[in-house]
Symmetry: C2
Subunit: 202 residues, 2 copies
């Protein structure tokens, strides 16, 4: 016999698992072997939930957030949301974090990434060009750029601010400063600088 | 709108991922969201590979190792393997490690676990009772107990040794000692004690 190998069907599952972020070959093997100890029915149920995932979970044609069966997302369909307040996020997964805070009651616009010359992502690759049209349609009063405070996030924010400079609306970005519960001794220099420059009266 | 939730189909995938060892709620969410960024076809291919996994990958009716389509495993089907040498392992996943060493040319017997009073696993729950019959059938000369050197592994080895004490065969267990390339200053006390008591002439 040549080199001992896993059955091909198992090898296939390992290859798929390896594509997940942070999962290397060894971890993928470990996970696949662990699954083999489940009831066969549970593995099949897992597989079926994946097969239907891209069919059922779609992206909202309005804002680009997660939605179902090609419909608008729950937020765009909610008449109680203030459409005059538009929050621009990089990624649909960030909407969950913002919604959990319960503070924002407007609607979203998902870019699907940040501008990045290094990764060759320009405005055409992102959901940016539909922004002026949406602003007109929703009669947006304030646009909040909720982009990460890193170089790409700042560049993307500047690009959008310039794109919309002729519109009659307020353009804001999220405050930078110390995170809640943070110990100042562990905060990095950029965070402390931002917290000082953004200081407010109490 | 009530609390913001992921689409149900995504929630389902997260629940399945959570069942994998070492994957908690947050990691499962992260992995599921990462998958949503794949091409839909790749998610479906992953799902299909899982659906067929328990049908295609089965366990060898002879030894309990991984096999395909209900057939005997590659090792049991290989006429070049020495059936007079039987290696008893706890789990099918350990066969891969032993095969990689290329040292062992006999056949295997997978117990499917170790005896454990704490986890209420007795000999009836393991593939132990078929062992005497297989030994007769294969005319085994030596049985190597390749069980982990922990309390449960030792108890299982002792149980098997006693079960087979009337048989005319050699019963051995893997040597304990320093792992290859190990630095003695980092070895634990039990390993050093085993390495001393098992010392050999050079």
């Amino acid at each position: 016999m040549a080199e001992f190998k896993y059955p091909e069907a198992l090898e296939e599952v390992i290859e798929h698992l390896k594509r997940l972020p942070g999962i290397g070959r060894r971890t993928a093997e470990r996970l696949a072997l662990a699954m083999l100890k489940w009831d066969g029915e549970k593995i099949i149920a897992f597989g079926e939930s994946l097969v239907k995932l891209p069919v059922v979970v779609t992206f909202c044609p309005e804002c680009g957030a997660l939605a179902e069966n090609g419909e608008k997302c729950l937020i765009c369909r909610d008449p109680a949301r203030d459409t005059k307040l538009l929050c621009v996020v990089e990624d649909f997964s960030q909407i969950m974090s913002i919604e959990k805070s319960g503070f924002f009651k407007g609607v979203y616009h998902v870019l699907g990434g940040k501008l990045s010359p290094l990764e060759k992502r320009s405005a055409e690759d992102l959901n940016i060009n539909s922004l002026p049209g949406r602003i007109e349609e929703l009669a947006v009063r304030e646009i909040i750029l909720a982009l990460s405070p890193d170089v790409e996030g700042q560049a993307t924010a500047m690009y959008i601010a310039r794109l919309l400079q002729d519109k009659k609306l307020e353009i804001t970005r999220l405050a930078q400063g110390l995170p809640a519960g943070a110990d100042i001794s562990f905060a990095d220099a950029a965070t402390i600088a931002a917290a000082f420059s953004g200081r407010r009266n109490i």
